[in-house]
């Protein structure tokens, strides 16, 4: 088992009003893993993400980075924010500068790195996210997808070990979604970082994620590998979520149309395999 880079133990968070936002959250993010946090609107995903980064301080419970409990001192917070990079859902509230280059450099400058190192990191981050050609463009002239990638570059310059993305694919066109996901997975492969993302796009989960946590009303109600989570369709649905479309089709075929699958497929590749198996067993039966 790989080492856990980020961990929460019985983490609670209450708003000042006393309303409970997160209750008893214990989870582990391992090095190099991609983890999806699923949950309906208002389930507490964004609040949890802000706890990961130290923006919000848990009311009780612990946050551990590389097995060490985070103390909320100024220097510990700095270290935490350097380790855990947060990409916000609305890029416009993250991009503060009208210059792409300046905005991307911000995090690296704050780390007080030598000038040459900062330049190198900014260039690398721009290249990685495919935004090098945008560096002289003003921020407000970028498209939605371009802003998203610049926002990711702005976090990558800090060279975090975990990158946390709040709905990274929301509002993107299908090509934009696959570009963002490919760029994230590519970066993960090269740097060995962990990725945590929240999404409503269930179809992504089976394709890109290694592990899934399901939140409902601030509590963790389900966790496991994507397949394990999808096998509990009843719980997912009670949390305002659903199966991947293809999984739903497989479920209906099995339940109502007498298809005898060994297991359901939740991605196109899995479903294809199951259907081929079913087809070949059918034709064999026919030959007999």
């Amino acid at each position: 088992m790989k080492e856990a880079i980020l961990e929460t133990k019985n983490l609670d968070y209450k708003y000042i009003s006393g309303e409970v936002a997160l209750k008893d959250i214990s989870l582990k993010i391992h090095r190099g893993e991609t983890v999806a946090i699923l949950g309906g609107n208002g389930a507490g995903k964004s609040t949890l993400f802000q706890c990961f980064n130290g923006i919000l301080r848990p009311t009780s419970g612990e946050l551990l980075v590389a097995s060490r409990t985070v103390k909320y001192t100024a220097s510990a917070l700095k270290e935490l924010r350097r380790t855990v990079g947060l990409v916000f859902q609305d890029s416009d509230s993250q991009l503060f500068s009208a210059s792409v280059y300046q905005d991307v450099s911000f995090g690296a400058v704050n780390l007080k790195l030598p000038l040459e190192e900062i330049r190198l990191r900014v260039d690398t981050a721009l290249k990685r996210t495919g935004t090098l050609h945008l560096k002289d463009r003003p921020t407000h002239s970028l498209s939605f997808g371009e802003k998203k990638r610049v926002a990711i570059a702005g976090v990558l310059v800090m060279e975090p070990q975990i990158i946390v993305l709040d709905e990274p694919t929301a509002g993107l066109d299908p090509k934009g979604v696959s570009e963002i996901m490919t760029l994230l997975k590519e970066t993960q492969k090269q740097l060995g970082i962990s990725i945590v993302l929240s999404t409503h796009d269930i179809d992504l989960v089976g394709l890109y994620c290694d592990y899934v946590y399901v939140l409902e009303k601030g509590r963790l109600i389900l966790e496991g590998r994507p397949r394990e989570v999808f096998d509990r369709a009843d719980i997912l649905r009670s949390a305002h979520l659903r199966l991947p479309r293809i999984g739903h089709l497989m479920e209906i075929l099995k339940k109502h149309d007498g298809f005898s699958f060994q297991q359901l497929g939740y991605t196109i590749a899995e479903a294809r395999r199951e259907l081929r198996n079913w087809y070949s067993s059918k034709t064999k039966q026919g030959e007999k």
């Binding site: 280059y101 300046q102 704050n110 407000h140």
Partner: protein, 257 residues
């Protein structure tokens, strides 16, 4: 992209060092204002026109149109300078007599008015040269190198960025309202506008909060520090500054106007 900045991004002089351009336009502007000479002002106006249009590639039409915007205000003030009101008759070019007052234009008054008008135009042309060849961001970065207080510069750059978000938000709200017939009557329109302004205020407030959280998560420590790409100074602008100043001073001394 909107406004003046669009021309600045298209300008062929965009990649020149912004500080060089800033100093050049400031020097020219100061000369105009201090020398107070018609010849100098005309020359500065020509130089700025030449640089912006011929060298920068800004269409002449745009330059003239932009020059006309402040001209309205200029005309009003120039007319008041040109007119003299006295009780005793003077050497008027033409005048009217109302009750015990003479209102008219004297040669001196006309000359002063003309001098002020041309001086103002020349100074404005210096400003337009800078804003039509240099995007706002680069102006800010040039000011930073002049050691202006960072609070001032941070505010400038944040405001500049937020203007666009603000306009976009306002436009979206306006569209949403007018698509539900919010502006079909004057009464309704006023009400809708009130709603727009209050929603805009609330959204801006929330946006500011979000921005602060986002900055904090990237290690913000009470100063917006960013890296700027290094810029080489170009000697030709400084030769230009010295050349222009000496030419203007010489002209002033020779012609005495």
């Amino acid at each position: 992209m909107q406004g003046l900045d669009r021309y600045a991004y298209d300008s062929k002089l965009r990649n020149e060092n912004p500080l060089d351009k800033l100093l050049f336009s400031l020097a020219a502007m100061l000369c105009c204002l201090l020398l107070n000479s018609i010849v100098a002002s005309v020359l500065v106006l020509m130089v700025m026109l030449w640089l912006t249009v011929s060298k920068g590639g800004t269409p002449l039409k745009h330059f003239i149109r932009l020059m006309l915007i402040p001209s309205t205000f200029l005309m009003i003030s120039v007319i008041t300078i040109a007119l003299s009101i006295t009780r005793t008759p003077m050497v008027f070019i033409f005048s009217i007599y109302i009750r015990s007052f003479y209102i008219g234009v004297t040669e001196v008054g006309l000359a002063t008015a003309l001098r002020v008008a041309i001086k103002a135009w020349a100074a404005i042309s210096c400003l337009y040269f800078l804003s039509l060849t240099t995007p706002m961001l680069e102006v800010i970065s040039a000011l930073r190198r002049l050691w202006l207080p960072s609070l001032f510069l941070e505010l400038m750059s944040l405001i500049y960025r937020m203007i666009f978000i603000f306009m976009e938000t306002a436009q979206t709200i306006y569209l949403a309202q007018s698509s539900r017939l919010g502006y079909i009557t004057i009464r309704g329109g006023i009400k809708s506008l009130g709603g727009l302004v209050s929603v805009l205020f609330l959204r801006s407030y929330r946006k500011a909060e979000e921005l602060y959280i986002a900055l904090e998560s990237r290690g913000y420590e009470n100063e917006l520090m960013v890296l700027e790409e290094p810029r080489q100074h170009d000697i030709k602008w400084y030769i230009g500054i010295i050349g222009l100043i000496s030419l203007l001073v010489a002209l002033k001394l020779l012609t005495g106007r």
